[in-house]
């Protein structure tokens, strides 16, 4: 996982967040770089969702 993807995972481990919150926290990152990192988080198959649509790290998910 690239460093930004790891940061995103850490932020989601802290608490569930809307995708827009993650975007807002990284506005200094180029959009394409952000999407590449998000793609890595997605591909890791560790994400869950809460009732309000926030992303979270699933319980027991292994972050490589």
């Amino acid at each position: 996982m690239n460093p930004l993807a790891r940061v995103l995972v850490a932020e989601l481990s802290e608490r569930p967040r809307h995708f827009g919150e993650l975007v807002e926290a990284h506005m200094e990152t180029a959009w394409r770089d952000f999407l590449l990192a998000w793609g890595e988080v997605r591909a890791a198959d560790i994400l869950g969702r809460d009732d309000d649509g926030r992303y979270l790290i699933r319980a027991g998910a292994v972050v490589s």
């Binding site: 809307h18 995708f19 827009g20 999407l35 998000w38 793609g39 649509g53 992303y55």
Partner: protein, 449 residues
């Protein structure tokens, strides 16, 4: 040749309905900027995407829809109705602008396309202006419009929850354990999008309906990696397949056409095999909810006209107002004979998800909310002129149907309301004679300044 996306942009600009933005814009800001513009917007530079330009909010008003359809705002429904009766089969061409650039294998990367961030609670960036082509061995080609949520450089989510022909095709492929090939064309003329939103019978080719709207065949080209054809003049095409995983992947929320944030849905995944595009591509951002709403208007209004005619009622004008998302509400004026106010209501309420219908006489301008209020105030007795139908088919995204309380897989029902605001039987028309100012045509205010 049929009209293309770029010809439509030119038509908007010629009509003073397109604003050019020259400074570079971050894709995260595209939707917010479009929402502040009173015109359609054309972004000439996109930060981080030097090869791309972006256009959006193209049919966010009835006027711009009328420009797309080449008719007056009042004629939108009849223009659509007449055209769908005269479908023109598409033609196949060998070379196409949409395949100027072909990316396959490791070059497939959605992050190279300026997909915007649209709403605060969206589950990801969305591709909204899609024309999705699929094929079934028995039923043939289908074209619809389905939102795509970015997941990874080669995958998106796709909303395939609502009943549709492509949902049937996908289920049939899934039953065989097979993926369903699809191709997604982005940056096509609104006629193709209108045809896609028209609920044609399953064996009718929507691209022939689009041909009827154009008055000329839609030119198609064969895709490079899937057995499908797409409009040759599209700006961008994504080729790939819906994985045979069923409705298992999270997708959403997304800002729905009901102007409300939707819920997380469970949907299939679209895996992309090839990206093809023009050499100087323009990415089309269909601005929710307005463009989605207005693209529904001709379809719903034409359905209302047809229903009125089947009921032997003579319509004068019909509107699917944007307050009802151009979908849930129909307002019609008619040349009324006794009893036809109620007949008209029954006809209009039979249209798909229409849950509010208002009928009035032909002396009322239904585009004027004040006149409509006046008619509903003085031509309606609530105990005689209001019709309520309970238990009709509803739609999940209408919060008032309380779908959440039904549990997963439940299908909601809705009540429908009809208001007969025509002059009541037995009341002389002279009782509604409007005030007229004495000597109105004899004097002019500017002569007294």
């Amino acid at each position: 040749m049929s009209h293309g996306f770029r010809e439509f942009l030119r038509a908007l600009e010629d009509a003073g309905e397109l604003q050019r933005v020259k400074k570079a814009v971050d894709p995260r800001h595209l939707s917010a900027l479009m929402a502040q513009a009173s015109q359609a917007t054309f972004f000439e530079q996109i930060a981080g995407y030097p090869d791309w330009r972006v256009a959006g909010a193209l049919v966010s008003t009835r006027r711009r829809l009328a420009i797309a359809m080449g008719c007056s705002e009042a004629a939108i429904a009849t223009r659509f109705e007449e055209s769908i009766r005269q479908p023109i089969e598409p033609t196949l061409v060998d070379r196409a602008p949409c395949q100027d650039v072909v990316l396959t294998g490791n070059d497939v990367d959605l992050t190279r396309v300026p997909i915007p961030m649209m709403h605060v609670k969206d589950g990801g960036p969305y591709i909204s202006a899609t024309l999705v082509v699929s094929k079934d061995p028995e039923y043939g080609r289908n074209v619809g419009s389905y939102r795509l949520m970015y997941r990874t450089p080669r995958e998106t989510g796709i909303d395939l929850v609502s009943p549709s022909d492509m949902r049937v095709y996908y289920q049939r492929a899934l039953d065989r354990g097979r993926p369903l090939e699809i191709a997604v064309a982005i940056g096509v003329h609104p006629f193709e999008l209108l045809a896609a939103s028209y609920k044609a019978p399953i064996d009718v080719d929507e691209l022939a309906v689009a041909g009827g709207l154009h008055g000329a065949p839609v030119e198609l080209v064969r895709c490079r990696t899937v057995d499908l054809e797409v409009p040759a003049h599209a700006e961008l095409v994504l080729e790939g397949e819906l994985l045979p995983i069923g409705w298992t992947a999270d997708e959403g929320p997304f800002g729905e056409f009901s102007h409300i944030t939707g819920e997380v849905k469970w949907n299939p995944i679209f895996r992309i095999r090839a990206i093809t595009h023009r050499r100087d591509p323009i990415f089309y951002v269909l601005q929710m909810p307005w463009e989605n709403d207005w693209l529904a208007a001709p379809v719903i209004e034409a359905a209302g006209l047809q229903a009125l005619r089947v009921a032997s009622v003579q319509p004068v004008a019909i509107r699917a107002p944007v307050g009802g998302c151009c979908y849930w509400t129909l307002v019609a004026s008619i040349k009324k004979r006794p009893g036809e106010g109620k007949n008209a209501l029954l006809a209009l309420l039979s249209v798909a998800e229409v849950k509010l219908a208002i009928v009035t006489d032909d002396d009322i301008d239904i585009d004027d909310p004040d006149q409509l209020d006046w008619a509903m105030t003085f031509r309606v007795q609530a105990d005689q002129d209001v019709l309520i139908v309970s238990g009709a088919r509803g739609k999940h995204i209408d919060p008032s149907v309380r779908a959440a309380a039904m549990g997963k897989g439940g299908l909601p029902t809705t009540a429908k309301l009809g208001i007969d605001a025509t002059i009541p039987e037995g009341v002389p028309r002279s009782h509604y004679e409007r005030l007229r100012y004495f000597a109105k045509d004899a004097v002019r205010l500017e002569d007294y300044r």
